[in-house]
């Protein structure tokens, strides 16, 4: 499905260069490796839990790649590690949320242009609309990119967000990763009509349903959507069709609701392998490059793991200090009481 009018020529619109394709590959390898490692960290007790994004590397790296962090702003869910990495977010800060250090993560969301990690399904979709409308009010040209899943599309907030954005012509790109599952519920029991992209027409909003496992298609679609929104034409919806190859989270047991055979059939081609074949076929990269990418990913993971392992707990006083910009007497009294009874000072 492609109801987005052809974009007028744009600086961003040129085809991806070989260097960019190699960069995308390196990013996907880094993300894949970090993701796999995080599961291992959980098993080793380094972190208490994690939500893998195995299989969604093309959707995440490709869309994140289209972001201009000098002016755009991104609103993730709890599964956008690949987006964060692509945007250059501090990954120790990002991963700290999975270490149970701080809910939103320790990275700086304002500087990173990535809103804090969001655990409420569909929780931040409306925030993107508000932020985007702020761009309109100030005649700025930033675009808000908001992520959500096939499951999240059932939430009322997603509808309200699409309607608000379309009524106000807010520069928002709604990026749906349709990975086939919401924990144990498959898309066909979740998304009536079968496609989130098909909803857009009802709001007079253009939509693109794309192969979310083809990173090049993802980059190009996201760039087109950004260009459309940036020029004041209002919101766009992208539905990237992909597959959650792993469990919902490290505490999930997919064997209870899908078989290994089904996984193999439904997942389709691996996005990373697909890009590899393409780079090889087009002579853009060789085995040496791939080996280098993996080595870099390994080094990076080690660095991040070391950072995570070195990360201590945040001081308990932050519980009180970060509630408000202007604290209250009651909170101060509770903090004092806590210091006395828990820190014995």
């Amino acid at each position: 499905m492609d109801t987005l009018p052809l974009a007028v020529p744009d600086d961003d619109a040129g085809p991806l260069t070989s260097a960019q394709l190699r960069e995308l590959y390196s990013l996907m390898v880094a993300v894949r490796h970090l993701d796999r490692s995080a599961i291992a960290w959980q098993r080793q007790g380094i972190i208490p839990g994690y939500a893998p994004e195995l299989g969604q590397e093309a959707a995440q790296v490709g869309s994140g790649y289209a972001v201009d962090t000098t002016r755009d702003f991104v609103f993730p869910t709890y599964r956008e590690m690949g987006v964060a990495r692509t945007m250059g977010v501090d990954m120790v800060g990002y991963m700290s949320t999975h270490k149970a250090t701080w809910h939103g993560g320790l990275y700086d969301p304002v500087k990173s242009r990535l809103a804090p990690i969001q655990a409420v399904v569909a929780g931040s979709v409306l925030h993107a609309v508000g932020w985007a409308h702020g761009q309109t009010l100030e005649q700025k040209d930033g675009v808000a990119l908001t992520y959500f899943g096939d499951g999240a599309s059932s939430q009322g907030d997603v509808h309200e967000a699409m309607n608000f954005a379309a009524v106000m012509k807010a520069p928002v790109v709604f990026f749906v990763q349709n990975n086939g599952w919401a924990i144990s519920v498959p898309t066909e029991r979740q998304v009536a009509g079968g496609s989130v992209a098909a909803r857009a027409a009802g709001y007079g909003m253009p939509a693109l349903q794309i192969d979310g496992n083809d990173v090049v298609a993802v980059v190009e679609a996201t760039r087109r959507a950004f260009a459309h929104a940036r020029r004041g034409n209002g919101p766009v919806l992208i539905e990237a069709m992909t597959y959650r190859r792993g469990p919902h989270s490290t505490s999930d047991d997919p064997g209870r609701y899908r078989s290994l055979d089904e996984e193999r059939n439904d997942a389709g081609e691996d996005p990373l392998e697909r890009l590899r074949q393409r780079l090889l076929a087009d002579g853009i990269a060789d085995e040496a490059f791939f080996a280098e990418a993996i080595a870099a990913a390994e080094a990076e993971e080690e660095h991040i793991r070391a950072g995570i392992q070195a990360l201590g707990s945040r001081p308990g006083a932050e519980m009180f200090d970060l509630v408000f910009q202007e604290t209250t007497p009651a909170l101060q009294a509770q903090a004092a009481n806590w210091r006395e009874e828990s820190e014995h000072v």
Binding site: G104, V120, L126, G130, H133, V167, F324
Partner: protein, 350 residues
């Protein structure tokens, strides 16, 4: 104060006291709120007002009357009919550096937005470690007393006050309305501003001159020696009436307008009840798990030794807010407040 003073926002009467000029005007709470918003928009280019029917109509209670005409449809605008949308959008605007002043049309229609209020607005400063403050002032026409349809007479203060990350305030008269709204709408934290809708059209003196102190904490509206009546919103004026009646029987009642329902002015409560040794707290919300329990417990904690009787609560009942015909049976009326006072005064240790 003479009644002949012009009663519109524009007509100010200025009197002079010995030391400083006093600028006092008689106006309704609706006018005082409207004026406060007008000034906030003029003073802060990042302030924006929006909600259902806030723009062209000026709100169903006319609190935003004329503001779109004066400040433009970019600053004061109508949204689609979806409260979660309105509050969720506020979060994004705050992230973009705005000071959103959304309106929820009636108390009962804050419920569809509770998820965004509790999980997002109240927590974003914390979640973002102070990098994304939420200077959002949510105006909620609140409480009952106007014979309105279902869900138009709710008191949500206990819910809001329980949510970490929110501040909650309610004005009891036009003067308080003007100053508390101006104060709330310039704070860097989220404030729920509960407007007592049954008082919108009551007139009162407003002294626009800031008295220098921020309007934090509670406020003694009437001094007294025998018992403290604690109230907020529309119940304050009812308690003042009760105090006048009680005075005829020689009972000298102190009326404390709590004003801030979060944070609660524990010191103000303690100071008053340490003096009077008796307290009754009055609210429209249902009794159980209402804010009266918190107020009573704060008083008991600080004044346990001096209290002559357990703090009494005179409140709405644990029933859904009734239809207009039964409204006066539900909202604490003068009789019920007097009975509460009597119970406290007559309490004998057994």
């Amino acid at each position: 104060m003479s009644n002949s003073i012009l009663e519109s926002t524009s007509g100010e009467s200025t009197a002079m006291s010995a030391d400083k000029p006093v600028s006092v005007t008689v106006m309704s709470m609706q006018q005082a709120l409207n004026r406060a918003l007008d000034e906030v928009l003029a003073e802060n280019p990042k302030a924006v007002i929006f909600g259902e029917d806030c723009g062209r109509l000026g709100g169903v209670f006319r609190i935003t009357d004329g503001l779109q005409a004066r400040h433009g449809a970019q600053r004061v605008f109508d949204t689609p009919l979806a409260e979660s949308g309105i509050l969720g959008m506020s979060v994004g605007l705050a992230m973009a550096g705005f000071h959103p002043i959304p309106e929820v049309q009636f108390d009962g229609f804050a419920y569809p937005a509770i998820n965004q209020i509790v999980c997002q607005i109240a927590r974003m400063n914390y979640r973002s470690r102070g990098t994304m403050p939420m200077p959002i002032t949510l105006r909620v026409p609140s409480f009952g007393g106007i014979r309105a349809p279902e869900h138009h007479g709710e008191s949500l203060e206990a819910l809001f006050a329980h949510v970490p990350g929110l501040k909650v305030v309610s004005p009891s008269n036009p003067h308080e309305a003007y100053h508390l709204l101006k104060y709330a709408a310039t704070r860097p934290d989220p404030v729920i501003f509960m407007e007592p809708k049954s008082r919108y059209w009551q007139k009162g003196e407003v002294d626009f001159a800031a008295d220098g102190d921020a309007p934090t904490g509670s406020k003694v509206m009437r001094e007294g020696r025998h018992l403290t009546l604690v109230a907020w919103g529309a119940m304050v004026s009812r308690c003042l009436q009760v105090a006048e009646l009680a005075a005829e029987d020689g009972i000298d009642i102190e009326v404390l307008d709590l004003r801030w329902l979060k944070p609660i002015d524990a010191a103000g409560l303690a100071a008053s009840v340490r003096k009077t040794r008796r307290a009754v707290v009055v609210h429209e919300a249902p009794l159980t798990s209402g804010l009266g329990a918190e107020v009573a417990q704060l008083i008991t904690q600080s004044c346990f030794d001096t209290l002559k009787a357990p703090v009494e609560r005179v409140t709405g009942f644990d029933v859904p807010y009734p239809s207009g015909d039964l409204e006066d049976e539900y909202i604490p009326n003068i009789d019920r407040i007097l009975f509460g006072i009597q119970r406290v005064l007559e309490y004998k240790r057994g």
